[in-house]
Symmetry: C2
Subunit: 340 residues, 2 copies
DNA sequence: GACGCTACGGAAAAGCTTTTCCTAAGTCAA
DNA sequence: TTGACTTAGGAAAAGCTTTTCCGTAGCGTC
């Protein structure tokens, strides 16, 4: 392990003082052009890289932030963290990743370490959008943004997906394709996301002068198995087969597609499907490939990162919930020309 | 944004010098018990948290490391990074996450930032195990470990999954269950992982005095579609249906299972399946649920983290490739009692 | 030649902590 | 009472950088 080159090494080699090196490299003070060029050449030759820790000590800003995730293993985490990392690294800020893992003791340890490292700010992420972060953010003394998580703290800033708007758009899309008897098969009702997606579905129906068919708003697990069960219920139901189904997630939709196909239903001919998540490994592999609402999680992460940056820079940011618009990804399951 | 409490604030409040505060809090030097208790009480009351940056400057170690991932969005990344993070945070080391995204310019920027922040070490991860990191690690001057990636650099340390051993175990398991005509349906031959899994399958067959049935070693994409195609080829093949199939991934196996079921084949009765990845969203949802090789990626990450820690602490670590043993996760597809 | 102004670079202070060296006070033994 | 030793705490230096203040030299003008 090599000792990094310090400003003193450069000063000695260049035959000037350390303040001259600093000024030459930073273009500050008054350093003659010849001296400046000479110092820069020496610094480059020696591979001098200023010690960021020392700089941070002096400038009062570390150009690092923490991501404290409550679910580092969850599939939503990847695009969110990816979006955060990209937005911040593009702005010279490095990102610590910490996994709290639903463990308050671990969370405390991470916070202690991050605060000791004088991070400029913190982003909290969770597994589900209705997660209430158990954290006194005011006591941290640094800017905090919640991404895919909420907070009971006054003045909190939360960046969330637009579940209601996404379901509204997806249902509108089906209506625009001429579908009239549209069912909704959601996840667990205990999830706010389930309820918001249902609300968006209902809003679109209402606006079109339609109503949900009888017994066609169903709820179950976030699983393919529930999707297959729901398919059987809709095939066997007294109300007749819906001509379209809004599924609460790609997994449910995949089960629904398998169940309908095995029940002899042609998709999207007899029944069209749309769903949520744009979880590619599922959505693209389902037969037919799923038209699905992409919650734009990478963009959500990027907005969280940039919002935190604004806070760090002392800009005014309006507190509260901000919802990132989703995108409808068209594949075959809805029956419109495949645009993917 | 509140200014953090410094050691000077504590010294002033406690009526002692800053060196006394440092000694009292660290249990160094000679500080009387009464003075020590008083200083600690004041420090706690003020919420003093030593500035880690200043400490790092003095002690020459930052207790932070970098993870430079070449695929932050890939599904292998989650458990690897999770394992790294957990192992290191349990040892007081914080983890920077950086996404190089197959972009040498971005990679350079990240490295510059990390080296300036005087990280203690670096872990490189990639999307595939045969990725050769394009990096002169000797020039970094800090310890480096590769996790799920390789390096042409002499003395490099690479932690990889045991693809060959996992396929060997899975195939041995099928043989132990009495299967005799065992096919192999892998991913792209351009992947080292495909070739190693095939080698493990062949080793187990050879050891049992068996041979691959004719036309039963097939290769295609990492996709369900390829799995369905392969199912048709095996059903229609002249060699007769194999009584077991080793699939190169869960995705391939899922397509295989769908293809076989739709071709009227009973699984695991007529044909048993094993596969690779233990990608839960696929493996558990496949009908029948997949017996699959878990490459133990979280453990791989943990070992990478602990290996880096040993390097940082100046311990002797043998260079080269280290393979983390996999685990065979038993579900229904192999035909043995469901132990999951 | 004297005075004033500006460019230039060095020394010192500052940011925050830890460690070392020094000094004073207290205690004990002769 | 004196000398030796130990405890206790403060001042200064160190880690690495940036910034400010100061002094000197050079140049131009009167």
């Amino acid at each position: 392990m090599r000792t990094p080159v310090t400003i003193r090494n450069v000063a000695t080699e260049a035959g000037v003082s350390i303040s001259t090196v600093s000024k030459a490299l930073n273009g500050t003070g008054h350093i003659g052009a010849k001296t400046r060029e000479h110092v820069i050449a020496v610094a480059n030759r020696l591979g001098f890289r200023p010690n960021d820790l020392a700089q941070s000590l002096h400038r009062g800003r570390s150009f690092s932030v923490g991501i404290l995730s409550n679910d580092i293993y969850g599939r939503f985490t990847l695009p969110i963290v990816g979006g955060i990392e990209e937005a911040l690294s593009d702005n010279r800020v490095s990102v610590f990743l910490c996994n709290a893992a639903d463990d308050l003791e671990r969370q405390k340890r991470h916070l202690d370490a991050l605060l000791a490292k004088r991070i400029d700010g913190l982003i909290l992420t969770a597994r589900r959008t209705d997660y209430l972060a158990p954290l006194d953010i005011a006591a941290l003394g640094i800017p905090v943004v919640h991404a895919y998580a909420q907070s009971a703290a006054p003045g909190a800033i939360c960046i969330l997906p637009d579940d209601e708007g996404g379901a509204y758009d997806a249902t509108r899309h089906l209506i625009a394709l001429g579908r009239k008897r549209i069912a909704h098969v959601g996840g667990p009702q205990s999830f706010e996301a389930t309820r918001l997606r249902q609300a968006g579905y209902r809003a679109a129906l209402k606006e079109a002068g339609l109503a949900p068919p009888p017994d066609s708003e169903l709820f179950g697990a976030w699983s393919e198995e529930w999707g297959r069960d729901a398919a059987r219920r809709l095939i066997d139901g007294k109300a007749g087969l819906p001509d379209a189904i809004v599924c609460g997630s790609d997994q449910i939709a995949r089960g629904m597609a398998d169940g309908l196909r095995e029940g002899g239903i042609d998709m999207p001919g007899q029944t069209a499907l749309v769903s949520f998540d744009n979880w590619d490994v599922i959505a693209a592999a389902t037969r037919p490939a799923l038209t699905t609402v992409d919650p734009n999680l990478k963009e959500l992460g990027a907005q969280a990162g940039l919002t935190l940056l604004s806070l760090i820079e002392g800009k005014d940011v309006k507190p509260g919930i901000r919802r990132v618009p989703s995108k409808l990804i068209i594949r075959r399951s809805c029956g419109s020309p495949d645009r993917s």
